[in-house]
C-alpha cells in the first residue's frame, strides 16, 4: 500500500479496489452493536484543518475513532495561513508530537505535497485548494459501486464548475482508473483549457448527455464564481446546467443522482431531485466515514479486519 494519499492518481487499480473492498468489510462491522475496532489503538491521527469544513473533519474524526486511534483536531483557522512558516512550523510541531497520520485540509493547492516533505507520518489529503479531494472520489466510487453493481464501463456524468473543483479532478482520475466512462459537462468558462488531455469526454450540452448516463454528479457552484463573469447570471446557469425535474426525467430509470454537498437547492439541483430515492446524497455522507476508515486502516498498516 502507498504511504500517502494525496492524489487519486496515487492509486492504481489494485489499491483502489482494495480500499473499496476493505470499506465493504468495515461497513459490515458498522452494522454490529459495538462499532469500534481496536485496530489503530495507540496510533495518533491529526486532523489539520486550515479551512473550515465541519463535515469532512467530523467524518475523518469518526473514522479514526471507530478504529480506536487517538485523534487530535488542529484547527489552524485564524492563525496566519497566508504565511508559509506556519505550515512548516505546524508540520514540525506535529512531527514532534509523533503523529502517525496527518489529515490535511488547506485552501492552497499542493499544501499536502509540501507537508509530506516535512512529516514522517502518512499524509491524507482532505481537500487542497482547487486540486484534489481523493477520499471524496473514493466515497463516491463506493456509493456508485453499491448502487450500480460495479464501475467498469459505467457512464458517469459530472456537471458544473470543473475548473475550480477538487472533487471533479479526483473523480475523473479515480473513475478512469476503475474503468468507468466519464463525461464532464460545464460551460466552457468553467473547464480548464487543457481538459482535452484528461481521461474523459467533454460536453457543453447537458440534455444530450443525460439519457446516456448511469450516474449524474452535480457540483456545487461557489458564490464567488457568480460575480466573476464565468456565466451571465445564476438564472441562466440554472437553466442551462441545473438538474431540474424535467432533466431528471430524461435520465435512464435506474440512473442515480449524486452531489458532494453542500448543495445550492434550486441552483444546480432542484429540491425534488435531491430528495428523490435515486439520489445518493445522504448515503454519500454515511459512506464517507466508512471509506475514510478503510483509508486510515490501510495507510497505517492495519492487519486484519476483526
Amino acid at each position: 500500500m502507498i504511504r500517502h494519499l494525496i492524489s487519486a492518481s496515487d492509486l492504481g487499480k489494485d489499491d483502489a479496489l482494495l480500499i473499496l473492498d476493505t470499506a465493504e468489510e468495515l461497513a459490515r462491522v458498522s452494522e454490529r452493536s459495538i462499532k469500534k475496532l481496536p485496530t489503530l489503538r495507540g496510533r495518533t491521527v491529526v486532523n489539520l484543518f486550515f479551512e473550515d469544513s465541519t463535515r469532512t473533519r467530523i467524518s475523518f474524526e469518526a473514522a479514526a475513532k471507530r478504529l480506536s486511534a487517538d485523534v487530535i483536531n488542529f484547527s489552524a483557522k485564524g492563525s496566519s495561513v497566508s504565511k508559509g512558516e506556519s505550515l512548516k512550523d505546524t508540520a514540525l510541531t506535529l512531527e514532534a508530537m509523533g503523529a502517525d497520520a496527518v489529515v490535511i485540509r488547506h485552501s492552497a493547492s499542493g499544501a499536502p505535497h509540501r507537508l509530506a516533505n516535512w512529516v514522517r507520518g502518512s499524509v491524507v489529503n482532505a481537500g487542497d485548494g482547487t486540486h484534489e479531494h481523493p477520499t471524496q472520489a473514493l466515497l463516491d466510487a463506493f456509493s456508485m459501486r453499491r448502487r450500480l453493481g460495479g464501475l467498469e464501463g459505467r457512464r458517469i456524468t459530472i456537471v458544473g464548475d470543473v475548473l475550480h473543483s477538487r472533487v471533479a479532478r479526483s473523480n475523473v482520475l479515480l473513475l478512469a482508473t476503475l474503468g468507468a466512462e466519464v463525461t464532464l459537462v460545464a460551460p466552457p468558462t468553467l473547464l480548464p483549457v487543457s481538459v482535452d488531455t484528461w481521461p474523459c469526454e467533454v460536453s457543453y450540452d447537458l440534455d444530450s448527455v443525460l439519457p446516456k448516463s448511469d450516474a449524474v454528479m452535480m457540483l456545487r457552484v461557489q458564490k464567488e464564481r457568480m460575480n466573476a463573469a464565468y456565466f451571465p447570471s445564476e438564472r441562466e446557469y440554472s437553466r442551462r446546467y441545473g438538474l431540474d425535474r424535467d432533466r431528471f426525467a430524461k435520465m435512464p430509470d435506474q440512473a442515480i443522482v449524486m452531489h458532494p454537498g453542500p448543495m445550492n437547492r434550486g441552483m444546480e439541483i432542484a429540491a425534488e431531485v435531491a430528495d428523490s430515492p435515486r439520489s445518493t446524497i445522504v448515503e454519500q455522507v454515511a459512506n464517507g466515514v466508512t471509506i475514510r476508515m478503510a483509508v486510515l486502516y490501510l495507510l497505517l498498516g492495519g492487519e486484519t479486519v476483526a
Binding site: G110, R114, P192, V193, V195
Partner: protein, 429 residues
C-alpha cells in the same frame, strides 16, 4: 599584467597584456614584468552585462545587498549589472538611484547601473521623474516598472515618448494584469491537473503586441523583459521585420526549464523553487526561445536574478515569492542550452550576454570587442568543467536556485573589471 593562454571567443590560444585598465596587447607568447595570470586555455569573453538584476537594496537586505549581489555577479562573470527599481523605497527618484549607484562604486565588484521606475512607486498612475534620474550621477537610461506591467496604454505611450529626450528606453514587464489575477503558473496541461490558477501566454503576448505598435507609432525604443512564450517570439519577429526599434531579453531559466517541473521534479511537486514571473512555460516555448535567441529575434540573455530568503520559498506554492537567483549559473545554463546544442558559438554568447545588453543600456565602457585599446573587462570561462550546482557556495545571500544538485557545464575562472581581477580561480578576490 599578462593573462596567459586564453582563447578569445574560443579561438586559438593567445596571451593578453593589460595596462591602465585597457587591453594593451594580444599575441601569443607575451612576456614581461608584473603579475601573470594563467588562463589555462579558458575561453575569454568580454565581461558580461546583465540588463535585469534585482539587488534588493534598499529595503530587502535580508535577501540581497548591493555588495552580495555584485559579488554574485562577479562570480558569474559579470562586469556590469542593471539594478531593477522595485526596491523599498522604489528607485523612482534621483536620490534612490544615486544611492544604489554609489553603493556599487564603493563595493567595486562590478559596475552597478540603476534602472529607474517608470511610474511613481511602480503604481502605474503617474510618471516618475525620469529626466531627473537621467540627469543624476547614475545617468539612468533604462526605465522599468519590472515586477509590474505598465498596463495603462496612455501611460506607456507617454513614457516611450518622454524618454526619447535623453536616449532612454522603457523595459516592459509584459503582463496583462486582469488576465493574470492570482495566477500561479503557466496555463496549460500541468496547471489544469494541479489546480493552480493559470497564467496564460496571451497575457504576455497581448501586451508585447500593443507595446510594439506603440513604439512604432511614436518612434521610440522599446525593450521587452524576460520573453517567455513562442507567441511572443512571433510578435517580436514581426515587429523587427518592420524595422521597429524593439529589443528583447530571455532569462537562462526560460531557455532550460519547463512547467512540468512544478508537477514532477527531484524536489517534489508544488515546490516553489520553480515559481517565477513570468512562469516556466512548455517545451515548445523553450525551443522557440532558443531559436529566437540564436537568430537574433531575442537580443539578450538577462538573468532576472531574484533573490528570496528561505522562508519565502519554504511554503505552500501560492504563498511563495516569485523568482530565482541566476547570476552565478547564467553562463553555464547558456552553454547547456545554446552552445552545447550548436545554436550559438562563443562570439554569439559575447554578443547576447555582453555587447547587446551594453548597447541597449547605453554603457559605453562595456561590451566592447576584445581588442587592443578596449577596456579590460574580461571573463575567463572554462567550458570543459562539469560541476554540480552547490547553492551553499554562492556569493549571493539567497539560495533559491532551481539548479541545485544539477550538473551544469562550465565554470567562471576569472573576471576582470577594467584590468582589475574581481574573481580569480573561481573565487572572489
Amino acid at each position: 599584467m599578462i593573462i596567459k593562454n586564453v582563447r578569445v571567443l574560443g579561438g586559438e590560444p593567445v596571451d593578453i597584456r593589460v595596462a591602465d585598465g585597457l587591453i594593451a596587447e594580444i599575441a601569443p607568447g607575451l612576456a614581461g614584468d608584473g603579475e601573470v595570470v594563467d588562463g589555462g586555455g579558458a575561453v575569454v569573453l568580454p565581461g558580461l552585462v546583465d540588463l535585469h538584476t534585482h539587488l534588493r537594496e534598499p529595503g530587502r537586505e535580508d535577501a540581497e545587498t548591493v555588495q552580495t549581489g555584485t559579488q554574485s555577479a562577479a562570480r558569474g562573470g559579470y562586469t556590469a549589472v542593471h539594478a531593477m527599481a522595485n526596491t523599498s523605497p522604489v528607485a523612482d527618484t534621483a536620490g534612490v538611484v544615486e544611492q544604489v549607484w554609489r553603493l556599487g562604486r564603493e563595493h567595486g565588484h562590478c559596475d552597478v547601473q540603476p534602472v529607474g521606475a517608470v511610474t511613481v512607486g511602480l503604481e502605474g498612475r503617474h510618471l516618475a521623474e525620469l529626466g531627473a534620474m537621467a540627469d543624476s550621477a547614475a545617468r539612468v537610461r533604462v526605465f522599468s516598472d519590472d515586477g509590474k506591467c505598465v498596463s495603462d496604454a496612455v501611460l506607456m505611450r507617454r513614457a516611450l515618448e518622454y524618454v526619447k529626450a535623453f536616449d532612454g528606453v522603457v523595459a516592459q514587464h509584459a503582463q496583462e494584469p486582469r488576465l493574470t489575477e492570482s495566477a500561479q503558473m503557466n496555463e496549460g496541461v500541468v496547471s489544469g491537473r494541479l489546480g493552480l490558477t493559470g497564467w496564460p501566454a496571451v497575457a504576455e503576448e497581448a501586451v508585447i503586441a500593443r507595446d510594439c505598435l506603440l513604439a512604432a507609432h511614436v518612434g521610440s525604443r522599446l525593450h521587452v523583459c524576460h520573453v517567455s512564450t513562442a507567441g511572443s517570439v512571433e510578435i517580436l519577429r514581426w515587429a523587427k521585420s518592420k524595422g521597429w526599434n524593439v529589443t528583447a531579453e530571455v532569462t537562462p531559466h526560460h531557455l532550460l526549464l519547463t512547467d512540468e517541473l512544478v508537477e514532477d521534479s527531484p524536489v517534489g511537486a508544488y515546490n516553489p523553487i520553480y515559481k517565477v514571473n513570468p512562469p516556466l512555460r512548455t517545451r515548445a516555448d523553450v525551443e522557440a526561445l532558443r531559436v529566437a535567441l540564436a537568430d537574433g529575434t531575442i537580443d539578450v540573455v538577462a538573468t532576472d536574478h531574484a533573490p528570496h530568503p528561505v522562508e519565502d520559498k519554504e511554503t505552500e506554492w501560492s504563498a511563495a515569492a516569485m523568482g530565482m537567483v541566476g547570476l552565478e549559473t547564467a553562463l553555464s545554463v547558456v552553454q547547456e542550452a545554446m552552445v552545447d546544442t550548436g545554436l550559438l558559438d562563443w562570439a554569439g554568447v559575447a554578443e547576447r550576454m555582453s555587447a547587446a545588453p551594453a548597447r541597449i543600456g547605453r554603457l559605453p565602457g562595456h561590451g566592447q570587442p576584445i581588442e587592443v585599446g578596449a577596456p579590460a573587462n574580461l571573463t575567463l570561462y572554462d567550458p570543459s568543467a562539469r560541476t554540480p550546482v552547490e547553492p551553499a557556495a554562492f556569493a549571493s545571500k539567497s539560495r533559491n536556485t532551481p539548479y541545485e544538485g544539477m550538473t551544469l557545464p562550465g565554470r567562471v575562472v576569472a573576471t576582470f573589471l577594467r584590468g582589475r581581477p574581481t574573481v580569480l580561480e573561481g573565487k572572489l578576490t
